[in-house]
Structure formats: C-alpha cells, structure tokens
Symmetry: C2
Subunit: 359 residues, 2 copies
Amino acid sequence: MSTDASRRRDVTVADVAKAAQVSKAQAARALGNYGAVSDDVRERVLAAAEELNYRPNELARSMNTGKSNTIGVVVGDIENPHFGLATRGITDTAKKSGFNVILVNTDEDTAAEVDAVKVLLDKRVDGLIIAPASSVDTQHLASVHTSGRPLVLLDRKAQGVEVDTVAVEMEGISYESTTYLIGEGHRRIAFISTIRTDEPYFAGLPLDSSQISDRRDGMKRAFDEAGLPQPEDLVRLNAGGPESIRKITRELLQQPDPATAIIASDGLIGLSVVEAIQDLGLSIPDDVSFLMYDDFAWTRLTTPPLTVIAQPVYEMGVAAAEALIRQIQGRKAPAAKPEFSATLVKRGSVGVPGSRANG
Amino acid sequence: MSTDASRRRDVTVADVAKAAQVSKAQAARALGNYGAVSDDVRERVLAAAEELNYRPNELARSMNTGKSNTIGVVVGDIENPHFGLATRGITDTAKKSGFNVILVNTDEDTAAEVDAVKVLLDKRVDGLIIAPASSVDTQHLASVHTSGRPLVLLDRKAQGVEVDTVAVEMEGISYESTTYLIGEGHRRIAFISTIRTDEPYFAGLPLDSSQISDRRDGMKRAFDEAGLPQPEDLVRLNAGGPESIRKITRELLQQPDPATAIIASDGLIGLSVVEAIQDLGLSIPDDVSFLMYDDFAWTRLTTPPLTVIAQPVYEMGVAAAEALIRQIQGRKAPAAKPEFSATLVKRGSVGVPGSRANG
DNA sequence: AATCGGTGTGAGTCCGGTCTCAATCGTAGA
DNA sequence: TCTACGATTGAGACCGGACTCACACCGATT
C-alpha cells in the first residue's frame, strides 16, 4: 500500500497533514523548516511525509517565493566544444549554489535568441547568461536588463547594455598574434569567421560581433604599427558549414597573391581549414601558416601541432555563473571583476612564408 | 508610461482584464485562446495585453495544467563532444515541439544522478532523458518509470528498467572491429575505458555499464571464434583523467609482451592515448595500432588519420527526444523503433603488428 | 490572581493562471 | 409573440505550497 501511494496525483502537504493529523499549516511548517513547530508534530509530519513518499512541488513553491532556482543559458551552439566547456563551467558552478540550468541553443540566430529570452523569462528563470549572437541587435538584452532581471553576457559585449560581461580581451591578443605572424615575415594574412553579414567584407564594414571586430581591430593595429598595407581582401566572413569553409580556403590559397597565413576564428572553422589545406596537398607550415582561436586538446595531435590562441573557457563559464548568482542573491559586485586574457600558444603551425620555395 | 509598465510586479491577467474592462475569466480566455469570446472582447483584451506588455507566467500555467513543457536531460559530461552532439540533437528536437531542456551534468557519478533525477522530478519536468552512469544501480530509474513519468535512456541500458532505450548495438560492432584487428594479425589487443569499478579488471568481472560490457562481449566472441586466447590482462578500467590514461598507455606498451593495438572507449580517452604514444616516440600504425569509439572531425586531421567506430550521435539524440515526446503526448510507439548501428571507419591508424621491426 | 511574553496551532489568503458552472443575452423556430 | 438553445460572460473554485493573523496555552511576573 505505502509503496505505490504515488498512484495518480502526487502527494501534497495537505495529504501529509491529514496523515499526520495536523493542520496543513503545521505540516507545511514542519516540512519547510520554518515557524514554530512542536517536536511531537514535527516527528509525526516527517514520518507521514516519509511514509507517503512526499516530494514538494517546486513549481508551486517557485510560484509564491518568486524564485525558481533556475538560470537560463543561451548559447549559439553547444555542439561547439567552446560552448560545451563554458556550459560545463556554468552548470558546475550553478549546481554548487543550488541552481539548475535551462539550456537553449540559438544556432547564432538573433531571432531564435529573442525568442529564447522570451521563453526563459516566461518561465521565470532567476537570471540569464547569454552569449549574444549579435553585439548590435540588442534590444531584447536591454529589455531584460531594464526589467531588472539579472543578466550576464558571455564572450561578446552588447552595445548599450551595461551588464557584467565575461569576455576575453580580444584586441590585445589579436594584435599580439598578428604581430607575431608579421614578425615571421607574413604580409598576406587571411582571417575567416562564421559571423553573418549582409554584405561581403570591406574595410570599415561595421561588424555585428564585438569579439570579431575587436580581433579585426587588433590585426589592423598590428599592420599599421608595422607600416604595412592592410590585407583587407583576405578577410572572409559568412563562412557557413564545412563545405563553404573549404571553398573559401581554396580561394584564399589559389588566388593570385595568395594568403601565406590563415587565422581561423574558432575551432570548428579551423578544422575545415586544415582539412582543405591537406586536400590541396599543401603543407603546414611550409606552404601556409595556420593559427586558430580556441585551444582544443586535439590541436596537439596534428602534424604539426597547431599554434593557437587559448582562452580560459571553463573559467569564464564559472565566472559568468558566479557573477550571475551574485546578482540574483543581491550581493554587490566583488572588488575587482576578473579580466580574462587569452594566450598565444606557439606550437608548430606557423613558419616563415615561402620557406618551401626558398629552402 | 506604457513602456515601463513592468515596474515592480509583473502584469497579470487580472491587470489586463481591468484595463480591458472585462472579467478575469474573459481576459484569460482571450489570451489563452480557448472558450468562447466575442470579437469585441478579444480585441480589447489583446490590445490591453499589448499595451501593458503582458507575458503569461509559465509557472502558474504549468501548475494547473500539470505540464511544464520542459524535459530533463541528465548526462555524464557535456564537455565530452559525444554528449555535446547528442544534446544538440535533443534540444533541436525538443524546441521543434515546444519543449525546453533542463540540463544536468553528473560527472558519471551515480549519487549525483540520483539527486539530479530527484530535483528534476520536483521541478515537474514532463519527462527525462538519461544517459545512466550505471546499468546496474538503477532503482532511481525504475522508480521514475513506475511513477509513470516518461523516461528514455540514452547510450546505455539499465537492468530491470523496461523503457525506450536509444543505444547503438555495441556487441556487433565490437566483434566486427576486433575481428578486423585480429585479421590484421593482432593478438595483443588492449581496451581502455573510464568506467569506474571497485576492483581492477579480471575475466568475468561484472561491468556496471551495458555499453562497456557489450563491447567486451564482442571482443571475447571475436577471440573465441578465432580460437585465440583472450588478452584479458590488457583490459584497463578506471582510466580517470588525461594523466592516468597516459600512464596506463605507457604500461600497456612497455610491459613484456606489450599490446600491439589499443582500443579507446571514447574520444577523450583516445586523445590521451595518442598523445602518450607520440610521447613515447612510437609511431601509429607501425609500432602500435589504434582504434577508438566516436568519430570526431579532428580524427581526420591527425597523421595518420584515425580509424574509428562512428556512432550516429546526433541522430540518437533526436531519436531519444522524439521517443520521449511521443510518450509525453501519450501517443503509441511507432511501428518499429529504430535500431542504431555504428560503423567501422577504416582510416590509417590500424596496421600489421611488427611491421616496423619486420619491414 | 491578573498580566505578560513567547510558543503552538489552525483557518484562510495569496501567487497567477485554468477551468467549471450558472446566469444572461440574442435571436431563430413554433 | 413566446420559448428554446447556443453564444457570452463573470464569479469563484482550484493547483500546491508559503505565509499572515488571530487565538489558545503555559509558565513567569508583580
């Protein structure tokens, strides 16, 4: 009898109260561990709860506490290990503070993101962590913020939305990396990103993603300081799937005055670029140098191992969750918000251009 | 005025009703699109809702519909691209049917899994997709099932829990792969898995994971049919982090009568194994052959590209979500439940043992 | 013995929706 | 012109907890 008590409807406080022969209020107090309850009542209620296999309905609880102990996480693509790792950092941290995570994937589509935000807000999440698809199209983010709901941005800033943003300082590392390539003798440096734009790249095109425009800024500064002409013609955006990326790579390498080095904006792109280079029968770094953002474990296994820009992704996930939870709990920001920085990890995929022909 | 209507408390149906000068019931009907509502009332209500920027409270809604339009997903490690991809399949499919996903990471720890199930049930998710940490320790899964809550298992079966299980038929592909290795001349085939056991492996040790024991069964059958002795001494479980895996790899390759081929139970293990092999200055496949489960994109980039057992991970995620949603919506199972099978993708990491010494 | 402060306790309200039920309205059929 | 039936409509119950409020009770003051 007692084992299958949860037949149809779930057990409620009222059921427990009846079984324990006390009022609903007293049962609720004993179970919720608040207010004054005599030992006798507490024992009877707890015993009855155990017996009936009572489990509180968190929905009901959330409804009148106003807290759901849930945070919403909106990312572009969990399939991308970058976000997988960040998500891990977020969930680990959230769990520690008793929060659950509702995960929404947007496919880097702003419309989907707007919708995701709406849905999560309707579900009354206690706060949101968003890796915005666009740094420009940000009304929905702004409205989250002004409505007073805690919000933390990950990876990218959002124009006009003054909230905690956990991101790597990109301009600097991009400058450093580009300078390194220039130092090795490269002048024709290509940059490939999946960021979507309405028109192909041209100098001065405003970019939708702070992350990408910061990287471009760093590259430009490096060329400027070196007194070299900007290879703007080698910037390729809108790189979609693997096939598109391979095509772009072929074009960059087979055109007159080809690229001698390629920077891939993330690991997924890098994968296809390296594949395309191998397919062309070219060798890294003798024929073309390669550099990519994100330091995945497999980059050590290729021949040669890849030179990458490593970002503390897991730690950033942790920091984002911590910042959000701090906001939710109404505590003030810590003395100094941690600034994350990326590091250039030199392995073997960058060499001197033309070394094959010259050597 | 109208823009910052959402000052303190959110707007409720009652507010909308008042603004539209109708009863709460009528406003609810107009908003919820049910019951009979005159055009006049509908228009006024909708206009008022728009004006006040009304958004329904999904918690309240869930509370008396009993449906939360949320499913719980419990995996061992989202950081692992295997689960990342499966999760992508799940979320894509869930979104299509209007479901959200609460993601919980268990670190392959059964206690954490038990807890996760409890929390998700308390949150009244409409159903659960679980990749169980253990195929043996399954009371919590059984209780989910008997309580009538929809449940679908992913990747691994659970003893005594008769629910839809989306998993690859492992024994067969393991047999096929092992037979392939034996055919190439291998006799000393090692198998490394992260599965946790209380004691080191010995022949006949019951394994906690159906996935792993099925793989072992396939290997055994291959050796039996070939009339060869089982290399049980080369089975290594409890392979924890990267360091531990590298150590195990070194042992397997440097002991007297070493392994000539290594099978890695998943991509994360494979990564460390290949690293260790490279560190030892050994070459694949001349000195040692390598085979791993999971076909990640990077396996094509190594030198040589890796021979792998590819699993339709994304599709399995989709299938799991579809099966769960079908259960939630009370529809009957489809004619035939899809059986997923893995494929052996022969690339370059398996060769003839001793080819270096002999050649 | 009357009063005071604190503990226990139960009735009942509230959160924000959904949904039942009975009352009202309009008009088509007799 | 009167009745009947479907379309509208509003009051209020209800989901399952959290929490307010009024009241009973009890030993300690004075």
